[in-house]
């Protein structure tokens, strides 16, 4: 974007972001805060788009605004908090927090100036672009996530799996909704297939255009959320055994592929360039299903109805 008009747009976006963030964090009403947070997330997605980062825009819209928003709403629903805080936090804590925020702000400002001043360090983007032919995909974000820094992504999936363990330990899922009116039913009937299609599209297109496993997984989870809202208590999720399989397969396929390539004499997770594209697609598919399952479980807030308690002894009341 060029010229002074671009500055006007950017300034407006920045001011809106700040205003929304301020309003969302300082309001006393929890419902209002959540709605403002969702609106903030949507605006942030627009900002990413303006900054020429469509992958981030997709992720922010799906995860930041969509999933995080409904998660907060589900939490509110479980235990509606009092309208105002029971008591204001102690003065010292507030003062310390202000000082800390100021320090962080100054540090960020210094870092930003340092970057804008034209640092001499090699820009990572150029390094990636130079080697992208070896990666098997043409989208630089996917190349970094799934190939150059695949280990990081593997560990992220492990973190998600750990979170799922925590969620399952929370107990039964929150109560469902009564069957909704005709408008929501019709909307669900149309949107859920479209969301599934969109998820598959994002997964496929991630190799050469903005998209990828995280965005696709979040979109699929949004479909599950919609089903739950319309009255399907299981949120369209498969049974416990299949769910367990999918959740483990996400990381299992990743590790499996990583170890398998060592048979050909490569290091762990070093895909042979001829196979890299196909392997990445395989890993991303498993990851999408796992992420979708994890986010859906997070929204449900516990074990779905037919999930056996596992090793809990039968005498337990719960």
């Amino acid at each position: 974007m060029s010229g002074n008009l671009a500055v006007v747009v950017d300034l407006l976006l920045a001011m809106l972001l700040l205003a929304l963030a301020w309003a969302a964090t300082t309001t006393r009403d929890m419902k209002r805060a959540v709605v403002l947070f969702i609106v903030f997330g949507l605006l942030l997605a627009l900002v990413w788009a303006r900054l020429k980062a469509p992958d981030l825009a997709l992720a922010e819209a799906a995860i930041g605004a969509g999933i995080a928003g409904v998660l907060l709403l589900a939490a509110l629903r479980r235990e509606p908090p009092a309208e105002t805080a029971a008591s204001d936090p102690p003065r010292v804590a507030v003062w310390l927090l202000n000082v800390l925020t100021l320090v962080v702000a100054v540090a960020l400002g210094w870092a930003l100036l340092h970057i804008l001043g034209g640092g001499e360090q090699a820009r990572l983007g150029e390094t990636v672009r130079a080697r992208i032919g070896d990666s098997g995909v043409s989208n630089p974000v996917t190349a970094v996530l799934l190939n150059f820094r695949a280990y990081d992504t593997l560990l992220e999936l492990a973190v998600i799996l750990t979170a799922v363990l925590g969620i399952l330990a929370l107990g039964p899922a929150a109560r469902g909704y009564r069957r909704s009116g005709p408008v929501l039913q019709l909307l669900t009937r149309w949107l859920v297939p479209l969301l599934i299609l969109m998820s598959g599209y994002l997964l496929w297109v991630g190799a050469h255009a903005p998209g990828g496993a995280f965005q696709a997984g979040a979109t699929l989870a949004a479909a599950a959320v919609l089903l739950h809202l319309a009255g399907h208590d299981r949120a369209g999720l498969p049974g416990a055994t299949v769910m367990r399989g999918l959740l483990v397969a996400g990381i299992g396929v990743f590790v499996g592929v990583g170890l398998l390539v060592t048979a050909g004499g490569m290091a762990v997770l070093q895909y042979p360039p001829a196979w890299a594209g196909a392997l990445i697609l395989l890993i991303e598919t498993a990851a999408t299903l796992m992420i979708a399952g994890a986010l859906a479980l997070a929204y449900l807030g516990g074990r779905p109805a037919d999930w056996e308690a596992g090793i809990t002894p039968r005498e337990e009341k719960d």
């Binding site: 019709l186 909307l187 149309w190 479209l194």
Partner: protein, 94 residues
């Protein structure tokens, strides 16, 4: 030439958007605000999408834009209904 037509359509679309926002700010109660918002904004979006399709010129893009508009239309209609119903349930005139 086509650029001029596209720009005109986009401009009219933005006018409708502005009308919707003004309505959102100035109308007296929740239902009329909802009415202004959904009707004006969707029409504005349609005109804007048409303008973008004309300027861009590709067939695939045009089809994509048409689908986006239809989707937004359906989603807005259903969402407006849900919001209005929610308002009614919470207690009549808001």
């Amino acid at each position: 030439m086509t650029d001029l037509l596209g720009i005109t359509l986009i401009a009219i679309g933005i006018v409708f958007f502005t009308a919707g926002s003004v309505g959102l700010l100035r109308l007296p109660d929740m239902y009329s605000r909802l009415h202004a918002l959904t009707k004006a904004d969707n029409l504005g979006l349609g005109l804007l999408a048409a303008g973008v399709a004309i300027i861009d010129g590709g067939l695939v893009t045009a089809i994509k834009l048409l689908l986006i508009w239809l989707l937004v239309l359906t989603a807005s209609a259903a969402s407006a209904h849900l919001v209005a119903q929610h308002g009614l349930r919470k207690g009549g005139d808001a």
